[in-house]
């Protein structure tokens, strides 16, 4: 089973559903009368096919991971790069805020007012942390 491809597994699921349809037509609509034992045998076969058919579609999905592993890695890497670019562009605003705080600090130093200088330093620290 593990050597099947996802497409092959999906195709098998489809064939089993078709086969079940033909067996059901015989089971329920046949002109040949069936004994209760024969009906039970056919029902058991249909149940088995049904379980197999459903399981194989789930297996087909699981097998897709092998088909997409490489593409998944590539998309994850590209998405990661996009996030870095976004960070760079958002950091420009941070840069502006820091630059503004530096200018404020410069003006405060020129004013030689210790109270204003302290306030300006706090503002610069906050801009850097943001």
């Amino acid at each position: 089973m593990e050597n099947l491809t996802s497409q092959q597994a999906a195709d098998l699921g489809k064939y089993f559903l078709e086969i079940n349809g033909y067996i059901e037509d015989f089971r329920f609509d046949s002109t040949i009368p069936l004994s209760n034992e024969q009906k039970q045998q056919l029902d058991d076969l249909l149940d088995q096919n049904s379980r197999f058919g459903q399981d194989i579609l789930a297996l087909s999905t699981k097998l897709i991971m092998d088909d997409v592993r490489e593409s998944m890695e590539k998309i994850k890497n590209i998405t990661g790069e996009i996030q870095s670019t976004l960070k760079t562009l958002k950091n420009i605003q941070k840069g502006i805020n820091i630059a503004a705080s530096v200018v404020t600090l410069g003006a405060a130093i020129i004013s030689k007012n210790p109270g204003i200088i302290t306030g300006a330093i706090k503002e610069l620290v906050n801009a850097c942390k943001a």
Partner: protein, 281 residues
């Protein structure tokens, strides 16, 4: 006066950049919204397994706990589906953010505040100077960062196209072939169950009528679910085609034709989302 002509040119450059990224932003944000409709499908491989397990128990008049249903394989199928979905969603979310014009609309007020008019040692600054420099800086910054964004978007669309097309194709395959296939099996199970019930000599005509009514009610629910998946798959097709168009024309990102084509894809995706939302479960 000498500043006016270069300013006009900068403004035009900026406007040209803004308009085209807007179309890409519309396409990527609509695609992102379209892809996220997957979360509204409300059915999964695990759900299918549990429903099938419960149905088996009903046929045999058994009472079972949920954890008595062996659904490991189905959980693995859901895990694969979710992983692919997350990768596609992450890419379109990123592209949406990157193409959003608000991203490079910077607030220069902090600089204006600190450069307010006054004397700084030997330097004196006028209010009109502060305002003029702030306006020019904003335009220059937007033009530069928009060019940077356009270059990056072109690069990402180019590298992402092939793997994205693979993921979209496989995602569509999982939903339309496999998950819908499971629903076909569910219809088959219902058919057999109610056909057998009709054979019973012990049921009255009224009970048989009620059984048939219930069969068609359940069948209608399944058909609705399959219709939802079909419509969602249609949107995946359009999203894939849109990205391919973007890729094919990535070097002509400023062209009017591309702008119009991409707008058509965004519009188609929105129509499909609308169609999806109309299906009641």
């Amino acid at each position: 006066m000498k500043l006016i002509s270069p300013l006009k040119i900068l403004l035009l450059l900026c406007l040209a950049g803004c308009v085209n990224l807007k179309q890409i932003n519309d396409y990527s944000s609509t695609s992102s919204a379209g892809i996220k409709k997957f979360e509204n499908i409300g059915y999964s491989f695990k759900q299918h397994c549990i429903d099938a397990c419960h149905f088996e128990a009903i046929k045999k008049f058994e009472i079972k706990r949920d954890n008595e249903c062996d659904c490991n394989l189905y959980k693995q199928a859901d895990s694969v589906t979710q992983t692919i979905y997350n990768a596609i969603k992450g890419y379109f979310d990123g592209l949406t953010c990157l193409s959003n014009n608000e991203l490079t609309t910077y607030n220069l007020d902090p600089l204006k505040k600190s450069l307010k008019a006054g004397s700084f040692g030997n330097i004196s600054i006028d209010t009109s100077d502060v305002n003029a420099y702030s306006k020019i800086s904003k335009i220059l910054l937007k033009a530069t960062t928009d060019l940077y964004r356009k270059k990056k978007i072109k690069k990402y669309v180019a590298s992402a196209n092939v793997p994205l097309q693979v993921l979209l194709t496989k995602f569509q395959f999982i939903l339309q072939t496999n998950l819908e296939g499971e629903l076909n099996w569910k219809k088959d199970e219902l058919y057999r169950y109610y056909k057998k019930m009709r054979e019973s000599a012990t049921l009255s005509d009224l009970e048989k009528g009620q059984a048939v009514t219930e069969y068609y009610r359940q069948l209608s629910e399944i058909n609705n679910r399959q219709k939802q998946i079909d419509i969602f798959s249609k949107s995946i097709n359009v999203i894939a085609e849109g990205h391919q168009k973007l890729y094919d024309n990535r070097n002509k990102i400023s062209a009017k034709d591309l702008k119009d084509e991409i707008t058509k894809y965004s519009s188609n995706i929105k129509d499909i989302i609308s169609e999806f939302n109309k299906i009641k479960q």
